[in-house]
């Protein structure tokens, strides 16, 4: 079986709309998710949610851990709950085959070697600012549409997903700087994006300016 076949197998699991809702909910959640919360979010019964969640685990799209939600331990603390989170790893397939990632890596390497951080940041800021949807001050929706999976952490808007993950891992200073500039361009003026890395997520977090 080729890599492409495996990717089709994995992604085929998401063809069911209930599974897709469950996957999106778990993947975007800032913390691990129990069955009840996932069932409620996907508007299905707990047993149906459990069935589909486990299919997603089998496919390698979600990972599982067991923990007592009550925080109690020892005898009488009850059975630990089964908790779901997004699995590591990426799955992509393109028909017909396209290799934008390979091109992205080559381009990043050249920019890195040429020291063109500021030029890349200027282009990213302009690209962010050119997006009309964010101008309507729905920065949360704009970030969600770009796959950042934003969530509120008190008064800070954090980003659960890094859309440039593989490149950012290889060229962190270059790509995270690009990403910050992109979000700066995207966010309306009353927002202050800053580098404040979120474990497993994006390096940028946003807060609202005090005087707005």
């Amino acid at each position: 079986m080729t890599d492409e076949d495996s990717a089709f197998d994995v992604l085929g699991v998401l063809s069911d709309p209930v599974r897709r809702r469950l996957y999106r909910y778990v993947a975007a959640a800032p913390k691990e998710v129990g069955r009840d919360a996932a069932a409620e979010a996907a508007r299905v019964s707990r047993s149906l949610a459990a069935f589909h969640l486990d299919k997603l685990v089998e496919a390698g799209l979600l990972a599982v851990s067991f923990r007592r939600l009550s925080g109690r331990t020892g005898p009488g603390a009850g059975r630990p709950a089964k908790l779901y989170r997004r699995a590591e790893g990426e799955h992509a397939v393109s028909v017909p085959p396209r290799s934008y990632e390979a091109a992205g890596r080559l381009l990043a390497e050249v920019l890195e070697n040429a020291g063109l951080d500021r030029e890349l940041q200027a282009a990213a800021r302009a690209a962010g600012a050119a997006q009309p949807d964010a101008r309507a001050d729905d920065v949360v929706a704009a970030l969600r549409a770009r796959g950042y999976e934003p969530f509120w952490d008190g008064g800070t808007l954090r980003l659960r997903n890094c859309p440039f993950h593989a490149l950012a891992a290889e060229f962190p200073a270059l790509i995270c700087g690009m990403n910050l500039a992109l979000v700066e361009g995207l966010a309306p003026e009353q927002w202050s994006p800053a580098m404040d890395p979120c474990p497993g997520g994006c390096c940028v977090a946003l807060s609202k300016n005090k005087n707005d």
Binding site: E88, N113, A114, G115, L116, D117, R118, Q121, C162, H165, A166, A168, A169, E170, P172, A173, C176, G177, L180, A194, M195, D196, P197, P199, G200, G201, C202, C203
Partner: protein, 209 residues
């Protein structure tokens, strides 16, 4: 929590050529951020030590090449590659890093190096510059390496992680790592080589974002 007594720590050096003198307007933002960034390093998990100049506060007064007043030098010691990686790329330090080209010229040659030292050892400027020279001359190896090509701690055991040791055969791990042809995105060799035993159940840390 039991950890092995035969500890190795990770030393790192980096050098950088600033675009203008330290007291110039071009460098003002960089200079202004030094106290905050050094304080951040000092309280980062796994931080052990950093070299300071005669002023005793930071390393901005150190010049590894006496003839080159624009060549800055920075050297510190950490418990593990992951601890250093987390500070470098997963902390507020990233904010400074993303502005590196405002303050530092791009260097074509290797400008940083890491190497393992016995815990308690304090590297000197000469020792650190020798590691940079090794990297330039021979490429990455156990004596001088980078984030892209990390080498496990010596003695066939003891890659430190989160203050605990993940025991593995260093040679085997490196061989497996190289054979797998993995890119720099892969975690350290010790997490790739099958089933390392850990003395405290520390999970392998996922790579950075």
């Amino acid at each position: 929590m039991l950890c092995s007594m035969t500890e190795s720590h990770l030393a790192q050096v980096n050098i950088g050529r600033i675009v203008a003198p330290m007291d110039s307007p071009e460098l003002a933002d960089f200079v202004a951020q030094q106290p905050e960034i050094n304080a951040l390093a000092d309280r980062s998990p796994g931080f052990v030590w950093r070299m300071v100049d005669g002023g005793g506060v930071d390393a901005t007064g150190i010049r590894p090449d006496g003839n080159d007043d624009l060549l800055l030098f920075n050297c510190s010691v950490w418990e593990s590659v992951e601890a250093l990686r987390n500070f470098t790329y997963h902390s507020g330090h990233l904010r400074v890093l993303s502005r590196r080209r405002e303050w530092f010229r791009r260097m074509a040659e290797a400008h940083q190096a890491m190497w393992w030292i016995p815990a308690g050892h304090r590297p000197t400027v000469a020792e650190a510059m020798e590691r940079v020279a090794m990297l330039r001359e021979h490429g990455p190896g156990p004596q001088a390496f980078t984030f892209r090509d990390p080498y496990p701690a010596p003695n066939g055991a003891a890659q430190q992680r989160d203050g605990c040791h993940v025991s593995t055969d260093a040679e085997e791990a490196v061989a497996a790592f190289r054979a797998a042809g993995t890119s720099s995105r892969a975690p350290l060799p010790t997490t790739r080589s099958g089933n390392p035993s850990t003395t405290c159940g520390a999970a392998p840390t996922p790579h950075l974002n």
